[in-house]
Structures are given as structure tokens and as C-alpha cells.
Symmetry: C2
Subunit: 228 residues, 2 copies
């Protein structure tokens, strides 16, 4: 399998250097997670320009599917995950992105919501369900789920809602996807074919149904996640 | 309109005294928001027993709809809002609860997720979308939305995900429901007919599309929310 993925916890992408190894000159940007797609595209275009890349936005293309077919690399930015997934379905690009990444080896970068939609489903997003997508099933570039912006319980908090870990436990009560990787701020997952590595500056926490959670240091090999 | 609602931010109900004014002896409990409905019912039954009320659970009834038709009062407990709403649809009780509360004046109490489903939609829940309900539209006992467990931004946080206020702003970019009431821990909303009052120990924050948010002290009259 040819896939090359960079899945980032943060809303902003700090992985520009990733593309230098991929012989890419133009990036296709997907701004669907924010309301103001033009402004979002300008911000991303300015950023990628300083790194030496041209940026096209899928929302400026006459045919979004055709834009995906021609893409050298795909970057899906953060925002609201429900809005993003609904727009991927509405514009009928979800299947084509999957095909380009898994079959053609087109590099994929995701930030926050763009990381959520790269997984099996958006069922471990932290976002509010502000719009109703036709399904929670996502692009499925990896066979597990991710919780971006993972936070540990705050023992000093007066908040009486569920902790993030309790929410993920509730997810495990309901579904067949056995693994959820909690990516803290500063963490990112690099996937190349059938290998996966944890990069960045913070540990990640892996939740597997029926087992105690396990902490992984930056640099850890997480390839086992790809074969389950 | 006969409605009598007690909508609580917290996951646990502290409003047992509410029923003493309503000439109620038995309460119909809806445990759908948690996975273990038997254990949840036992906890609620023990609690209500100490307050002098019998408790029936809708999940123990042969016909959930019939149980709703006979209910003297309805209490929907907290947990996961998506699981709760999906079960309300799956068991076909959503419309009947609405009819009993709005037409027959059956008292309704909701905690956390049980507060979310009392509003227009669950689109301002904080919960993870662990199951896919047939819609986000909820029981609609009031014409606005609520965000339970509302939290203010933490200026010391290194978390780079959206703040709760930013998430509600994103909701306002997408939908026609103009008002979202942010209920902090310790807040509850009492609705009697066409009057609504904020009770409890903490302020609430009202988000209206296109306007700055407004803080309300405990004791405030929020009846204006019922007529928009």
C-alpha cells in the first residue's frame, strides 16, 4: 500500500517540511471545515507560499472531483468536523480522495478535523454537531480512530461533565473499531505504507477496547495499529 | 401552554424538591444515555426512593410508548446525548414525550444530555458522536438550544482546540435557531408555561446570533427565550 499520511493533532499545520521529500510543487487544499472558505484558503495559501508551494483550493475548482484526480498532494485543514465531513459527501470527493491516497500514493496531510476524517469515522471528534452529515463514516485511510487535542483529566476542575477518557470509553461501548489514538497537542502521526510512527513533542495515549490505556513516547513505532 | 420543565446542566439531578409541588408519586425514568440501563435505573431508583418517589424505567416497560402515555412525570438522565437521542427515536417515544409535556402538562426533568434533548436539537452537545441518530432534531420542548456544562476559556491552557464559545459561534454560522443558552455547572432553568427563570448558583451565558453574548445572574427572568 502506497499511502503517505501526516496526521496532526493541532488545528494549524506545522508539517511543511514533510512535502520536501515527496517531490510535490502544488498542494490541493480542502477548506470545508471553516465557514469562510475564501479567507481560510488565503491564510493557507500565504503559509504554503512561504514554504515554496503553490496551493489550489478544492472550493475554487469547477469540478471538485476533477481537482482531486489531478492533485499532487492533499491537505485538509481543521475547523468543525461535522461541517467538513458533510461537505466531503456533498461534493462527492470522499471516495476519490480515498482512492488517490491509497492507490496512487498521493501524500495526505490533515490537521485536527482533517485528521479525524482520515480515520474510520468521526465518532471521536470533540466538535459540536452543528450540521447533520449523511453518515459518520469517514475517508478510512487508516483502520482506527483518532481523538485530536487529547487532554488528560484536570483534578482541580469543577467541571462535572465526562472526561475525555470517559467519552472514549463510551465510544468503546458502542462500536466495532477497537482502537482510538489520543493525540495530545504537539503530537503527529506519520504513516508510510504499513508503518506508523509517533512524532512531535508529546506522548500519545492509545485506547483499545477491553484493555487499559497505554502511553507512547514520541518516536514510538505504532505500525501495529495498521494491521488490526 | 402547560409545560413544566426543570433543565439542569449537571449530569446528576439535584431537583428532587421540584416534584413536591406537582402532586406526583411516580416518575418515569429514561436511562437511554448510559450503556448499562439496569445499573443506571437502580441508582436513580435509590435516589428517588430517599425522596419519597417510586421510579419506573421506560426500558423495563413492555411498551415504552405506553409507559410514556401513563407517566405522571418524566426524568431523562445524563450520559451520551447521541446514544440517548438515537434510543428515543428507535423506541418511538420522542413524539409522545413531546405531546405529554406540552399538551398534558406532565412535568419533565432533564440532566445534561436529558437537557440537550429537551431543546430544538442536540447540535450544541459536548458529547462524542458515538452512534448515528436518524436526525439531530430533538424533543423541542423549548424553541432554543442549551449548552450544558458551559465552561469559560482558560487563559492558562495550552489546549489549541476551539473554546466552547468558538464552537457555539460555529453553530450560529450554520443554523436558524437563534439562541443558545450556556448553562454552567450548578445552573438550572425552570420553565412554567411561558415563563422561564434561571435558578442555581452560577451565571448563565446567552448566545444570540449576530449579537454579543450576555450574562444572566441566578434568579433572572429568561421568558424572552420562549417567544423567539
Amino acid at each position: 500500500m502506497k499511502r503517505r499520511l501526516l496526521l496532526v493533532s493541532n488545528s494549524t499545520l506545522h508539517g511543511g517540511g514533510y512535502l520536501t521529500t515527496a517531490n510535490v510543487k502544488r498542494v490541493l487544499f480542502v477548506p470545508y471545515a471553516l465557514h469562510d472558505r475564501d479567507a481560510y484558503t488565503k491564510t493557507a495559501r500565504d503559509k504554503f507560499s512561504t514554504l515554496g508551494y503553490e496551493l489550489d483550493s478544492v472550493h475554487e475548482a469547477q469540478s471538485p472531483v476533477e481537482a482531486v484526480r489531478r492533485a499532487e498532494a492533499i491537505f485538509i485543514g481543521g475547523g468543525n468536523t461535522f461541517r467538513l465531513l458533510k461537505s466531503l459527501y456533498d461534493n462527492e470527493v470522499l471516495t476519490e480522495i480515498r482512492r488517490r491516497v491509497l492507490e496512487d500514493g498521493v501524500p495526505y496531510m490533515g490537521s485536527s478535523a482533517g485528521t479525524n476524517v482520515a480515520t474510520v469515522s468521526i465518532s471521536t471528534t470533540n466538535d459540536m454537531p452543528i450540521v447533520y452529515p449523511p453518515a459518520f463514516a469517514a475517508i478510512g485511510l487508516v483502520p482506527f480512530n483518532i481523538n485530536p487535542h487529547y487532554v488528560d483529566p484536570d483534578p482541580g476542575s469543577r467541571h462535572m461533565g465526562e472526561t475525555r477518557e470517559q467519552r472514549i470509553t463510551q465510544y468503546h461501548e458502542e462500536t466495532d473499531t477497537p482502537c482510538v489514538l489520543g493525540l495530545r497537542e504537539g503530537s503527529l502521526l506519520l504513516v508510510e505504507g504499513n508503518t506508523a510512527s509517533l512524532l512531535g513533542t508529546t506522548k500519545a495515549r492509545l485506547f483499545t477496547r477491553g484493555k487499559p490505556p497505554v502511553e507512547y513516547d514520541p518516536g514510538s513505532d505504532l505500525s501495529c495499529l495498521l494491521t488490526r
